[in-house]
């Protein structure tokens, strides 16, 4: 999901762990105990979590951009306020997640530096452009829908601070998907042009949303250990199928056509069968060659540079106040 790029090879050598400590750690995980920041943990558990949580945080922050594109052009004041509230939440969620990652002994400045230098990844979905206002509907409905499905599973992650951040995020985010679907309903009940816009948005976001769950389990080498350590509770393919099954009827209600000629209800399994995902596209976008990768990073770096004087001034002001108090 937001940690799709975890499949990128981690080249740092894996340290041999004390087998006794490792066994005690696994016993705690198996007993459903939460692991807390000061507890002993295998180095690779720590590293996987830092990568996963920070990718998740970066995704929240970069994810503000495609929606920010439509704030000034939202059709009504109500829609504008809703969109702003959603983007504000995403900023907050980024903060919760950075804070959770920091408990593992890495600073936010360091994580942020990794995003800006391009070393750290974020979800592929945010590298697609938002071309018409119906995209705000499609993103809320599909992208937030997929994210929520993944995040609900993460509420039971074995690492305490991450699980707690997820609970908070899920609580706040439940309005995001409903907000998006409501836009889709309004447009599908509107004029012919509005229905076309909704269909166009669905056509462009359907497959990228399905890619959010990451590669097939068979191509996901880190999954097994993550499952064993209960960082991850459900497989990529399992969650994706669940999302397909939940979403197809919602599209049917809207009267929209899902862009997949092979989509068919399988009476035997009870699931929806679908075409294979274009994994070449997925790899391209994750590795920096999506439609908007450069634009997203350029914007992020520019904003960071332009805000430097504010952060500097804040520190100077705090130092001055502290000095005055001491005098």
């Amino acid at each position: 999901m937001y940690a799709q790029a975890l499949n990128a090879k981690d080249l740092t050598p894996v340290r041999a762990e004390d087998p006794e400590k490792l066994a005690a750690f696994q016993a705690r995980i198996d007993a459903e105990e939460k692991i807390e920041p000061n507890d002993w943990m295998p180095e690779q558990y720590r590293r996987t979590l830092i990568r996963q949580i920070s990718q998740h945080a970066h995704s929240e922050i970069i994810g503000m951009q495609p929606e920010g594109n439509w704030v000034t052009r939202a059709p009504t004041l109500k829609r504008k306020a809703q969109l702003l509230a959603k983007i504000q939440d995403e900023g907050g969620h980024g903060l919760y997640l950075y804070a959770a990652a920091e408990t593992l002994g890495v600073s936010r400045e360091e994580l942020y530096g990794q995003l800006l230098s391009g070393k750290a990844k974020y979800s592929s979905i945010f590298n697609y452009p938002t071309l018409n206002y119906a995209d705000m509907g499609a993103i809320g409905w599909l992208v937030d829908g997929a994210a929520i499905m993944n995040q609900i599973a993460l509420c039971r992650c074995s690492y305490g601070p991450y699980a707690r951040a997820m609970i908070l995020i899920c609580k706040e985010e439940s309005f995001h998907q409903r907000q998006g679907y409501e836009i889709m309903v309004a447009m599908c009940r509107g004029s012919k042009e509005q229905r076309q816009m909704a269909q166009d948005a669905l056509d462009r976001f359907w497959w990228p949303a399905m890619m959010m769950f990451g590669p097939h389990d068979s191509d996901s080498p880190h999954s097994e250990l993550s499952m064993k350590w209960k960082i991850k509770r459900f497989s990529n393919d399992g969650l994706r199928q669940k999302f397909f099954d939940a979403t197809v009827p919602q599209a049917q209600y809207l009267g929209l056509t899902i862009p997949d000629p092979k989509l068919k209800h399988n009476k035997k399994t009870g699931h929806w069968d679908h075409s294979e995902i274009d994994w070449d596209e997925f790899v391209r976008v994750i590795n920096g060659d999506g439609p908007c990768n450069r634009q997203r990073m350029k914007h992020r770096r520019q904003v960071e540079a332009e805000g430097a004087w504010v952060r500097e001034a804040l520190h100077a002001h705090a130092a001055k106040k502290a000095a005055r108090k001491a005098a």
Binding site: E36, N38, G92, E109, G113, L168, H315, H317, K321
Partner: protein, 95 residues
Amino acid sequence: MTEKATPLWEVFIRPRNGLAHRHVGSLHAVDAEMALQNARDVYTRRGETFSIWVVPSAAIIASDPGEKDVMFEPTASKIYRHPTFYEVPEEVGHM
């Protein structure tokens, strides 16, 4: 990044229902005023809060998780501290 690190604060909020302040998370801020404002913006966007505490993370004294056995073990044997230890005749009903 060469930028100066911004201090970390822990945030506690008291919900409207009058319960005690509860830890909700942390944030970065250069001073107490900014910490309070950021806490309001980040942790209380749904009108669920009556009051906020912010505490510099460095000021918190915590028990050592490595010594939790020594620290908490003495209570394990004192089952008579729980109401269920005591038997009340059935005829008496709920107590």
